[in-house]
Symmetry: C2
Subunit: 391 residues, 2 copies
């Protein structure tokens, strides 16, 4: 690491759904950048904040405040869900030129990596020397190349703990319980529910992922089998099933007037109806949709996630300051017991708009459970979980 400060300013922004640790990446980048770049700016609410020059000066924030922010869920700079077009990217370069921004760090998922790629292309087209670095973040864990996406392990920890407690609740008052977990296209977060199992008869007993076709008859047969074995049934269902099997589940009929009902809620209702039918109305059926709590619950954080989210931010800032070329930060796993990793740079194109899904090896042949390889992968990321006691 050179002591000579890199030329120009560094601009950082956050994008997409917040997580429990995205601010670790922000603070990691700020603190690292202070040692090796010129002034540090933050853009409010992602790319639109760049275009509107809604900047906040980050050099002078005191360290205690930054550490408090790092430990706070959400996205301290504000976030956004909109993707810029080519014209807006060209406009961003003009703004960078005006403010002498030479390093642009964008924290987000694969859509944000696409934005980073477009900005990088616009800079080349305008012959403007700019290093664009994508910093990975998403509770969905669907980023390509990286071992995992920071934000996922903490959300996975929330899901695992929720299922552990729910299993004990359901043991006390037995019935069918369906929990709908975030994840439109990838089942990673839903599959993390399996970490709740400590005894052979612990829930979740059934796990439905968007990676497998949803079959109503199999779903009801699965439930009857579990009830026969355990006298109760806890189910983890990815909200992505609503998209994949929405028509089949008749979700269209549930659309309300204002059109604001989440597909995840409609899915929960539909699955609840199927479950009630499967047991001929003889069991108590309850449905919970975990909702936004999964990605923003203070104090439920994976230690690995917290550490690595900080590191990817630091790595991005140092890479930019060292005169590195544009790219995306990724994590390479070096060991699992304990989990150890290193950061590296992968081309923006390898991550941009390249959301992945659960690999087949992690999904059981039944299509309604996970495999040991999934547990081997995810357990070290989530960290130790409390041991549940029973009589």
């Amino acid at each position: 690491m050179t002591n000579r400060k890199a030329k120009g300013k560094l601009l950082i922004a956050q994008s997409g759904g917040p997580t429990a640790v995205i601010n670790q990446s922000l603070v990691g980048a700020i603190l690292a950048a202070r040692t090796c770049t010129g002034a540090i700016l933050g853009a409010r609410h992602g790319f639109p904040g760049v275009i509107s020059e809604d900047f906040i000066e980050l050099d002078s924030q005191d360290n205690a405040r930054l550490e408090a922010i790092a430990a706070t869920p959400g996205a301290a700079l504000g976030s956004v869900r909109k993707r810029p077009d080519a014209e807006e990217c060209a406009r961003a370069i003009e703004i960078f030129r005006k403010h002498d921004v030479r390093h642009f760090l964008y924290i987000g998922g694969d859509g944000s990596a696409k934005t980073a790629q477009l900005v990088d292309q616009a800079a080349r087209q305008q012959n403007y020397a700019l290093c664009v670095v994508h910093i990975p973040k998403t509770i969905d864990n669907d980023l390509a190349v990286t071992d995992y996406s920071p934000g996922f392990p903490s959300a996975a920890r929330f899901v695992a703990l929720a299922f552990m407690g729910d299993d004990k609740d359901n043991r006390a008052l037995p019935g069918i319980k369906i929990n709908v977990v975030m994840g439109h296209h990838a089942g990673f977060l839903t599959a993390a529910a399996a970490l709740a199992r400590q005894a052979a008869d612990d829930g979740p007993h059934l796990i439905y992922l968007p990676e497998r076709a949803f079959d109503i008859e199999k779903f009801q047969r699965d439930i009857r089998n579990v009830i026969e074995r355990h006298g109760r049934c806890i189910i983890a269902a990815a909200e992505g099933i609503a998209e994949q099997a929405g028509k089949q589940l008749g979700l269209g009929h549930h659309q309300r007037d204002h059109g604001k009902i989440r597909k995840a809620d409609m899915l929960g209702e539909a699955l609840g109806e199927l479950a009630a039918e499967a047991c001929a109305g003889k069991m108590r059926v309850r449905v919970d949709t975990f909702g936004y709590l999964q990605r923003s619950f203070p104090s439920v954080v994976s230690a690995i996630d917290m550490r690595d989210a900080r590191r990817v931010g630091e790595y991005a800032a140092r890479h930019a300051a060292d005169g590195g070329t544009s790219g995306a930060v990724a994590i390479r796993r070096l060991g699992s017991a304990p989990y150890s990793s290193e950061c590296f740079i992968t081309p923006l194109a390898s991550v941009a708009d390249s959301a992945i899904r659960m690999p087949d090896r992690h999904i059981a042949a039944s299509g309604s459970d996970i495999t040991q390889s999934w547990l081997d992968y995810v357990a070290p990321l989530v960290g130790d979980l409390p041991r549940m006691g029973r009589l």
Copy 2:
């Protein structure tokens, strides 16, 4: 405390909705009873387990296992929601006589206190010497006499943390967010959301309790006012509003075929529609129903709650063994900074079927917020919360 062991066996059971700390009371009672009574039995799934003599022997459970159970949410003996009739209570006394049960501890809410009272009356009618002790438990905090109900502070902690994180999520991606919190008749748990506020503009910005009439026009006006001030709006709504204002909200129209949709979910939908209308569809409206996570989330526990839940169990067992008369254990607050308390016995009749509601002094004149007296009451119970950082 006498060293002479009390005559007869002690039977313990759990009832009603599980909590994060109800097993502390169970384990507290078992460990205390070991020093002062004869054999200790547990009845599975509450009163029906008494009638069916579904007993589990609790003397020989090893301490490490008991401590693991104490730290586990749920109800380790199993729970029940059914209330016995006079005939079943008379039958219970026959069973107690057969097994020489002379102490009956029943952990639960005000309905369980009623059951305890009926059993006590049946014993008197049959001239059977029996000490019945009710051990308080409910996340609703609606038990009479006691300063608070064990189980409530931990659930309140979950709600406060959830709102803290949700506030940061909503700051990052601004909009209207409605969270439906458990509590059919009393607003205590919903009001605990106010503990999430650390800065003047933190959510929840509006709090609707079942203790106040729900007014659609006021609700929409309240939302518009908050949006004008903060550009976003976070709302805490007690599920009890569904019962209190269900007709007015047209919840009947949302009843689905299988009749399993929770009123809380229907309420969330209805409030979401009203919110969308209030802002003329110009803001993102999202609704979460916290559901069962509130009462059974491992690792989110109030230290005071954990300690006192243990103590009320211990106190009940010692009171019974010391030849005390039937009654309900209650908590008397001695100080708030730090929280200190002592246990005492109150007549079963003072607690049985006597659910209380939020006192007026805790509810703001606006009807959509709480007062400082509520915060003074609840903050020491919930304990220190993490400080949120912001730029």
